[in-house]
Symmetry: C2
Subunit: 389 residues, 2 copies
Amino acid sequence: MNSFIYDIPVKVYFGENQLSHLGEELKKYGNRVLLTYGGGSIKRIGLYDNVIEVLHKAGMEVFELSGIEPNPRIESVREGVKMCKEHNIDVLLAVGGGSTIDATKFMAAGACVEHDPWEFFGANAKPIERALPLVTILTLSATGSEMDSGGVISNLATQDKLGRLAQPLLPKVSFLDPTLTYSVSAYQTACGAADIMSHIMEVYFNMNKDLYMLDCFMEGMLKTVVRYAPIAIAEPENYEARANLMWTSSWAINGFINGGKKKAWSCHPMEHELSAVYDITHGLGLAILTPRWMEYCLDETNVEKYVSFGVNVFGIDANQEPMTIAKQSIQRLSDFFFKTLGLQSTFTEVGIKREDFKEMARKACRYGDIRGFKTLTPEDVERIYEMCL
Amino acid sequence: MNSFIYDIPVKVYFGENQLSHLGEELKKYGNRVLLTYGGGSIKRIGLYDNVIEVLHKAGMEVFELSGIEPNPRIESVREGVKMCKEHNIDVLLAVGGGSTIDATKFMAAGACVEHDPWEFFGANAKPIERALPLVTILTLSATGSEMDSGGVISNLATQDKLGRLAQPLLPKVSFLDPTLTYSVSAYQTACGAADIMSHIMEVYFNMNKDLYMLDCFMEGMLKTVVRYAPIAIAEPENYEARANLMWTSSWAINGFINGGKKKAWSCHPMEHELSAVYDITHGLGLAILTPRWMEYCLDETNVEKYVSFGVNVFGIDANQEPMTIAKQSIQRLSDFFFKTLGLQSTFTEVGIKREDFKEMARKACRYGDIRGFKTLTPEDVERIYEMCL
């Protein structure tokens, strides 16, 4: 069992009508705020007007950067960095989902250095020692960016989609209001659920001995998503469902569940190559890959992990052969993604083509084999891609 | 479902051999440290020497206050406050269990005010707006003081034992090394387990609708204690058992599981009166009280909570009448405390006498009825005490 450091000093205002605290939190850092967001959805749901009103009441000077795209691009980050420097920004306020928050994190870091923000990524990445303070208002339960220290940025020029973790990227404060996710579509809710589950499963499926207490928490969060994602899809304004998904999305990836586990993730690097090339929704890519990855990795040495998963998350009868339970577990997860949540189930359906597998597999392993639950070579990754056709 | 604020910025070094980071963490706050501890146990296990060596290597000027008692007393707090003021202390380092950490929290706060630290307690308690920075090294898994913002202090002169919560009391950094609990006796391990379970159950047993995700986490932590406390008792140097108990003890009471729940605790105020008068171990008092309290509160309106508890924590067969499951749940908990952990099961055994019930019940309700899971008047508390005979 490895030692670890727990250090997640993000303050969270959870629930409805907490925006009254936004002004006091921002003003701790200064007066000049860069407000970042994506498309028009925050205007449609009235959030934009509320935020602007609070900012003006607090006497903040507001600069705006909109149009941050899903799978956010380095160009947006560069634009944000430029604005931070030009306008002497004191604090950034990201309003949106993981894409907006991710992009804004690297604006905050980029504002503190002279080099191009793309140099924060890749094999010879530059250190991230400082960042401007970041406050977030979350509108989509999925990536957990509101409470973690990482982000993922795409560079279409190089067909790269790369992640980076660094403690200074952690938001100072995040506002989590489940009602702001009422307008999230059934499809995006389903993709978000798959993303949350993947974040947990990437850690859960690990043969390193670690804290049982954390395994229990992971199983509890997986059960929570299985219970509430279908409710949120059927009743978009069900507060209980939206609240459970929202708080689970944050805890799935803020680092708590890692404990001392040190294994790499598997499905995320495989998926990032898909969405780098095809620009498909991250959660959908994960949903298609995850059951195939589980099937590919299953063997006698790791079957017990599948058994715990199936019994404790899906309530599968424990009085069966381990291998039987394991296969049922994979089937139950597939059924959940593709029947209950209604997500597309194959690469063929979403237009991902065999001809790109070799190159995507090579890139997924650009830093070496994926040393996760089971070590995956580029050939393994290709085979898993093939299982998704 | 109520809104809430999550704000637990404690940094934790978890695991063996993390003390090498102690110097760098303390030096963030200054050079003059007040080291506090209880009896000689930290010397017996060699921890005292290790800490002193690290402090000297870091060039800290060390002042010491030892002899902090179990159920720590206001006199010790006063002594610590005096030392902080006399020696211009920059940072406090508490080495021990909840008693030492609790007492040190109020030294840290008392050092910032002119009035007597006992004025932080009671009906007209003075505000706690500041405290000197506090770092802790934990040697007993029980109270969770290493990661929460509260503490409990006894005043034998007034026969009071009172708690207080305030955000400035939160430790900056806590070192959690499971090997430091290897020397904790079977009895103290059992009492600690009961204390941890009580912290969770005080929140879990609550009819306010809140996040299912948090209920799952609570059930997972309770399962963890049920699984590992007997192992830690049988094999005191089992790292896995000690580690699970240690991290669970912190998360049982750091505030995360509260979500938006606003109900008062029940067993803790009833127990504090016992240990204020009889000076018995807190966890033992809780173990005796909790199953009786559950029995006293059980009715048709709340039976489902007992069912979830019994099925999800003790694995009781769900295919029975709810009331049957509820009664089995109470029995399983009693068996766990009094058979598996071997704790004494009645007030009679530990010498608590009926003649004190009326006064203790009155004091348990000094601020009004206990508005917890079920509202308890002084008469209710007396009746629960009687069930413990």
